[in-house]
C-alpha cells in the first residue's frame, strides 16, 4: 500500500516560499483570528473542546492534554502559570525549532488561547540555550503581538491580561523534564522534583499550580480552538487523534519532518515511501521510533497479539514495517511514540557502538541526584565505551543489562527509565552482537561505517 498524503496542520507554512515569521505575514494568513474567536467564549468551553479532541501531549509522554488541564488546582487562590516546554532536547527530535523559527506566532496564539482557557496571567517559554536565534525570534514576535494587543494588558478589550516572557536554558537536557524545567526557571540547578507531592498542576512554579506543555501541543490547541474538539477527534485514529510530526534522521535517503494524521501511516511506508528507503546498497537494520530513549526495534522481528479495532479484538502479526505510527500501537510492541523522533540505522552500524554513543549522552545529562541514575548511567557509558575502545568480553552484555535493570523505578524522574531502556532493548534484541563484539571488532569495518563513539 502506498503511503497516505501528508496532512500539514502544524507545519502548514513551514518551508512555504515567501512565508516569513513577522506578524504581518501571519495576519495575512488568517493569524490571530482563532484568538479573537476564543476570547469571546467561556474558558470552560475551550477546556471542553481540548478534552473532546483527545489531544495527547507531543513532548514525549503522550499524556492527554485535557486531563492535564483538568488536574490544575483552581481553588488555591494562587496564580496559575503556564510554561511552554521549548527545550527540545530529546535526541532525534527537531520539530519545535522549525515552528519557533518559521511560524512563531502560531505558538504565541496557541499559548495565549491556552492561557485564556486556564485563567493564566503569566506564561514563560522555556527555550533551550542552544537556540539563541529562536529566543530572539520569539521575543520579537511577542513584542509584535503585544503591539497589536494580542498579548499584554486587556487583550482585545476583554479585560483579560496575560504576559509571555522567553526564558533561556543553558545546555542541560534534564531541563526538558517538566519539574527540572521548573527548578531551572526558578534560577536553580535543574534537579527534578519528586512526585508526589510536586505535581506541577498543584505545586509547580513558585509552588503555584502550573501547566507545562510542549510547543507542538500548544499549536495543536490553537487548531482545536478553531475547528472544535469533535472535528479534531476525527483526524487520526481513536485515542490517537490529530496529526503527528515525524522527525526522521539517520540512514534514509530523505531525512526530514513529515506530518501525518496519527496512526494512518506505518513505519514501512514512512521509511520507504516517504523517506525514500535505505541508502544505496544498504539495508535497514534497526530503528528507534520515538526519541533516543524509546526502545529500539530490529528489522526482521515480529510482534504478535490482540488489539482493539473498533469494538472488536483482532489478531495482529506485524513486522517492524507494518506497525502503525501511533502512541498505542508503538506502546503495544514494547516501545513508544515519544517525541516523534525516528532514528534509523542500516547494516553498516554496529549496535555496541551505537549504544555506546547513546550511553555517553545519558551519562553526560544525568542531573546526579539519584544514585541509580548517576552511577548507572556512568557505568553503562564506561562499560560500553570500554568495549569499543578497550577490551570487550563476552559477558559485557549481561553486565550492562544488570546495571540497566537496577535503575528504572528507583529514581526521582523518568530519566531513570529513559537511560536504561536503550541498554535493555539493544541487548535484548542484538544479544549476539554484544556477546560476539570482541570477535567482530577484529574484522575490518564496512567502508561506509562511521565512527559513533
Amino acid at each position: 500500500m502506498p503511503a497516505p498524503e501528508q496532512r500539514r496542520i502544524i507545519f502548514q507554512h513551514i518551508d512555504e516560499p515567501g512565508y516569513t515569521n513577522d506578524i504581518d505575514c501571519y495576519l495575512r494568513n488568517g493569524g490571530y483570528e482563532v484568538l479573537k474567536k476564543s476570547v469571546g467564549r467561556k474558558p470552560e468551553e475551550l477546556i471542553d473542546e481540548v478534552k473532546k479532541s483527545g489531544l495527547r501531549g507531543r513532548g514525549g509522554a503522550g499524556f492527554p492534554c485535557g486531563v492535564k488541564w483538568g488536574l490544575v488546582d483552581r481553588k488555591s487562590g494562587k496564580p496559575i502559570y503556564l510554561i511552554v516546554n521549548a527545550d527540545e532536547s530529546e535526541p532525534g527530535t527537531f520539530k519545535d525549532r522549525y515552528i519557533m523559527h518559521q511560524d512563531p506566532h502560531q505558538l504565541i496564539e496557541g499559548t495565549i488561547i491556552s492561557c485564556f482557557a486556564n485563567n493564566v496571567k503569566q506564561a514563560y517559554i522555556y527555550i533551550r540555550g542552544e537556540m539563541p536565534e529562536g529566543a530572539r525570534i520569539l521575543e520579537k514576535a511577542i513584542a509584535e503581538a503585544r503591539a497589536k494587543n494580542f498579548v499584554g494588558p486587556n487583550i482585545l478589550g476583554t479585560g483579560y491580561s496575560c504576559e509571555i516572557y522567553v526564558h533561556r536554558g543553558a545546555g542541560a537536557y534534564i531541563c526538558g523534564e517538566e519539574t527540572g524545567l521548573i527548578e531551572s526557571l526558578e534560577g536553580k540547578r535543574a534537579n527534578p522534583r519528586i512526585k508526589p507531592p510536586y505535581f506541577p498542576a498543584v505545586l509547580g512554579l513558585y509552588q503555584c499550580p502550573t501547566i507545562v506543555n510542549n510547543v507542538e501541543t500548544l499549536c495543536q490547541v490553537k487548531y482545536i480552538a478553531d475547528v472544535g474538539g469533535d472535528a479534531y477527534a476525527k483526524i487520526g485514529t481513536p485515542n490517537n487523534t490529530g496529526t503527528r510530526i515525524f522527525c526522521v534522521s539517520g540512514h534514509v535517503q530523505r531525512p526530514g519532518y513529515y506530518e501525518f494524521p496519527a496512526g494512518t501511516i506505518t513505519m514501512g511506508q514512512l521509511l520507504n515511501d516517504v523517506c525514500g528507503g535505505p541508502l544505496p546498497g544498504r539495508t535497514f537494520k534497526a530503528v528507534i521510533p520515538g526519541g533516543s530513549s524509546a526502545k529500539i526495534l530490529r528489522f526482521g522481528e515480529r510482534f504478535k497479539g490482540k488489539r482493539k479495532v473498533g469494538a472488536e479484538m483482532v489478531d495482529y502479526d506485524w513486522g517492524v514495517e507494518d506497525v502503525p505510527m501511533d502512541f498505542d500501537s508503538l506502546g503495544m510492541i514494547g516501545t513508544m511514540g515519544g517525541s516523534g523522533g525516528v532514528i534509523v540505522m542500516d547494516d553498516t552500524v554496529n549496535m555496541v557502538e551505537a549504544l555506546a554513543n547513546i550511553n555517553a549522552f545519558y551519562s553526560h545529562e544525568s542531573c546526579g541526584q539519584c544514585t541509580p541514575c548517576r552511577e548507572g548511567s556512568l557505568w553503562m557509558k564506561k562499560i560500553s565505551s570500554r568495549m569499543v575502545h578497550g577490551d570487550a568480553r563476552p559477558q559485557d552484555g549481561a553486565l550492562l543489562k544488570s546495571v540497566a535493570d537496577q535503575i528504572p523505578g528507583r529514581t526521582i524522574c523518568a530519566f531513570g527509565e529513559a537511560c536504561s531502556w536503550p541498554t535493555q532493548s539493544f541487548i535484548a534484541k542484538f544479544t549476539d552482537e554484544f556477546n560476539n563484539y570482541h570477535e567482530a571488532k577484529k574484522q575490518p569495518k564496512p567502508a561506509a561505517a562511521n565512527v559513533l563513539v
Binding site: P91, T93, F94, E130, H167, G171, G187, A354, F361
Partner: protein, 162 residues
C-alpha cells in the same frame, strides 16, 4: 562590575520578568557571558548581590549548566554535535576536521587563539546531520568538505582583522 551600559539596562529589565528575583539567575549569567565572554568570580558575587542570594547559589548554577564557562575560550566557538543521528552521518569526522584545521584538540583554545572546538549533545537538527554551531549560527550537513570551507572562512576573517 565592568559591563556595557546596555548590558546593565537589559539586566534591570529582565529581573522584572519574574515575581522572584532568583529566577533571573540564568538570564543574568547569559547576559554577562555574552558581554564578557565567560563567568568570573567577580560576576558570581555581583549576580548574587544583585539577586539577593549567596554566591554559592550562583556558583552551583554555573557549574551545573554546560553552556556557562569559568574561563575564556577562543575567538570563535565551534560546537559539533556528537549525538547519535549526527554520528551516524559522520559527525566525528567533522569534528576531527575542525581540530586538524586549527591544530587543536577538543575543549582547548587553538594556538592562534582563533577557535575553541567542542563536542556538544544533540542540537535538535538531526534531520540535517551532521550539524555544527559556530557562535550563534547553526550550520547544517557539515561534512568534511563543508567543515574545511567553514574553517577557511574563519581563517580568512582572522587574516582580514590583522
Amino acid at each position: 562590575m565592568n559591563l556595557k551600559p546596555e548590558t546593565f539596562q537589559r539586566i534591570d529589565e529582565v529581573i522584572t520578568h519574574y515575581p522572584v528575583k532568583r529566577s533571573a539567575t540564568l538570564p543574568l549569567l547569559h547576559l554577562i557571558q555574552e558581554d564578557v565572554g565567560h563567568i568570573s568570580e567577580e560576576a558570581i558575587t555581583w549576580i548574587a548581590q544583585k539577586l539577593e542570594l549567596q554566591p554559592i547559589n550562583v556558583l552551583e548554577v554555573v557549574t551545573f549548566y554546560p553552556m556557562f564557562r569559568r574561563a575564556p575560550i577562543g575567538r570563535r566557538h565551534i560546537k559539533v554535535c556528537r549525538t547519535l543521528s549526527c554520528a551516524l552521518s559522520g559527525g566525528y569526522k567533522t569534528c576531527d576536521t575542525f581540530e586538524k584545521e586549527f591544530c587543536t584538540h577538543r575543549g582547548e583554545i587553538s594556538p592562534d587563539g582563533e577557535v575553541t572546538v567542542e563536542f556538544v549533545e544533540c542540537l535538535a537538527s538531526c534531520g540535517t546531520a551532521p550539524v555544527v554551531m559556530i557562535d550563534e549560527i547553526l550550520h547544517e550537513k557539515v561534512d568534511v568538505t563543508k567543515a574545511k570551507q567553514l574553517s577557511a572562512q574563519i581563517k580568512a576573517e582572522a587574516a582580514a582583522r590583522k
